[in-house]
């Protein structure tokens, strides 16, 4: 299967991409779980300082692809990735690449909020501590406060930084996780259905937050909700059964989809 010819990149020269630097270049990526071929010959260019949304029906491979961008798939037994994914021109599947450093640059927010069973402060300070980013205690405090502010959580928790992070509400926990990711100062933030475990109000706060920080990061968000994709993203990629069907400007995608399958999905024929 690997030998089959490389497909053309599925982008349709989106306007947004043309206007920005390309951050991630994936070409002919295949992901296997044991015998299952989860991602098939995928090629995509993702721009910096914009939000790209991955949509598609369940099991289409959008989360799998997301997890291969910071090599979280390494932790799954029997998972194999071929092809190359370049971040700033460097193939992250190169033998000499250091996963630990890659992940410090490519942050991730998970479907279910997963704060560590530590205090709010320690949750955010975890990354700077292990990477030795903070030079001093005051430095560290500054990083924590700034990250919490960027995640627009600071006002709500400033009086109880020493309380456990698990005691927050679901939406606050997710924003804490975003603050935790921001604290390491990543360039790319991957979000795997960050709102699926939250109520609509909490989801709206997260969406606002994504909108606020998108100027500084390359954000990729996997979502089930087409409305959410339409609201927060500038680019949208549609996945179906392991294939990248279509990738383009969000506005174009939802008004004039090029592929029949995209149209069917958007109009609710399946999904």
């Amino acid at each position: 299967m690997d030998a089959s010819p490389q497909r053309p990149v599925a982008t349709t020269s989106p306007r947004i991409l043309a206007a920005r630097e390309t951050k991630i270049v994936a070409s002919d990526v295949n992901v296997y779980y044991g015998d299952k071929h989860a991602i098939k010959h995928l090629s995509i260019d993702i721009p910096d300082r914009a939000v790209s949304a991955f949509i598609g029906p369940s099991g289409c491979g959008k989360s799998t692809f997301l997890r291969s961008i910071n090599r979280m798939n390494d932790t799954i037994d029997g998972c194999r990735v071929t092809g190359e994914i370049l971040v700033d021109g460097k193939n992250i599947y190169d033998r000499d690449l250091d996963v630990v450093q890659l992940r410090a640059r490519v942050g991730m927010v998970f479907q279910k909020p997963n704060p560590f069973p530590k205090s709010i402060f320690e949750n955010v300070a975890y990354g700077p501590r292990i990477h030795g980013i903070a030079k001093s205690k005051t430095d560290l405090e500054e990083i924590v406060v700034n990250s919490l502010k960027k995640a627009s959580l600071f006002e709500e928790v400033k009086d109880r930084l020493a309380h456990p992070g698990t005691g927050l509400s679901g939406g606050q926990q997710q924003r804490l996780c975003i603050a935790r990711a921001i604290a390491v100062n990543p360039e790319i933030i991957l979000m795997d259905e960050p709102c699926s475990a939250l109520d609509p109000i909490a989801s709206a706060r997260i969406e606002e937050l994504i909108d606020e920080i998108r100027q500084n990061y390359c954000i990729i968000i996997v979502t089930h909700s087409m409305q959410q994709a339409a609201r927060v993203s500038q680019l949208t990629a549609f996945f179906h059964l392991g294939d990248l069907v279509e990738f383009g400007d969000t506005d174009d995608m939802f008004t004039t989809p090029k592929d029949k399958r995209t149209q069917d999905y958007i109009t609710g024929r399946f999904g």
Binding site: A104, M108, F110, N114, F116, P117, Y126
Partner: protein, 392 residues
Amino acid sequence: MTAWTLLIIAALTVTGFFIGRARAQGLRNAGAARLHSLPTYHGLLMASMGFAAACVTTLAVAYVAGPDSMIMPAAAALLGTSAIAASHPLITREFRARNCFEYFVMLVLIACSGVAILTTIGIVFSVLFETLAFFREVSVIEFLFGTHWAPTSTPASFGFIPLLAGTLLITLIAILVAGPLGLLSAIYMAEYSSRSLRGVLKPVLEILAGVPTVVLGFFAALTVAPLIRNSGEAFGLAVASESALAAGLVMGMMIVPLISSLADDIINAVPQSLRDGSYAMGATKSETIKRVVLPAALPGIVSAFMLAISRAIGETMIVVMAAGLAANLSFNPLKAVTTITVQIATLLVGDQEFDSAKTLSAFALGFVLFCFTLVLNFVALRIVQRYREQYD
């Protein structure tokens, strides 16, 4: 007589079943209307009536007249038969034999689950009575705070402190060995080893856990103790032939599988999402384990250590065979010390008169041991339960 009685009970049960079933079948064949319950249930009910009546009678007679009495089989037969006869007319079309039988079964099940409670009550009372008898002869103060233990000499002295010190010393050595080894083993198996390696290592640890303590005691006394003595002499140290160190080391190895299997379960119960969160921050595996997994698993690990301590305190054979009998009040691991369990075992092996303070002191020691381990176990199990609930 016992054999006869058992035979009679069995016979009554079987005949009861067939009589009951036959009558119900007769009813079914005779009339067009359906029976409420299957004939088998009528048979089972009658069998259980006969069985229960005969058993109760047997126990009652055995209590009153002794187990060798001729009355026992006779009375069992008589009352069993009359129970069957009395329940015979009950069998009618509408009779809810299944419900009655199920009620009977439920009573039996409840009684069976009560045996565990009875065991605990039995333990508490059997130990408590003799302990109280002991404290009528020896003052509690002398027992708890005395520093001299010599139950066989005249005058005997029952100071419990040297035994406590010996027990704690050996337990401490055992935990110092088993704690790091067990915990690191568990971490390696849960986080690092491949599935196939784990498939080999787990059974090996289970084998180690299944080695009888009498075998470990033999090994401690005949192999480890001489080894320690010889290497001690090489360094110019005087090591007792029954040193606390030998017993403690082997006991530690005995506890390794206990700690590793408990810790393994607990580490596996830490949700993968926490690990993912840490890896996604760019943490290495050991950083994730040390800073996220272990703190999250801390309550469970603490309780695993408590269960291990309780196991070490209560372990008997290793110390009986490898630790000494002399009650030295010493914290030197190279010297011979004795433990609570060693004293219980040596005081009660062989013939004993039940009213002597010497024999009774073993029960007092047993009481102390029971209280120690009960508290440890109870607290540890509570912590584990809380911990499980947190991540369920």
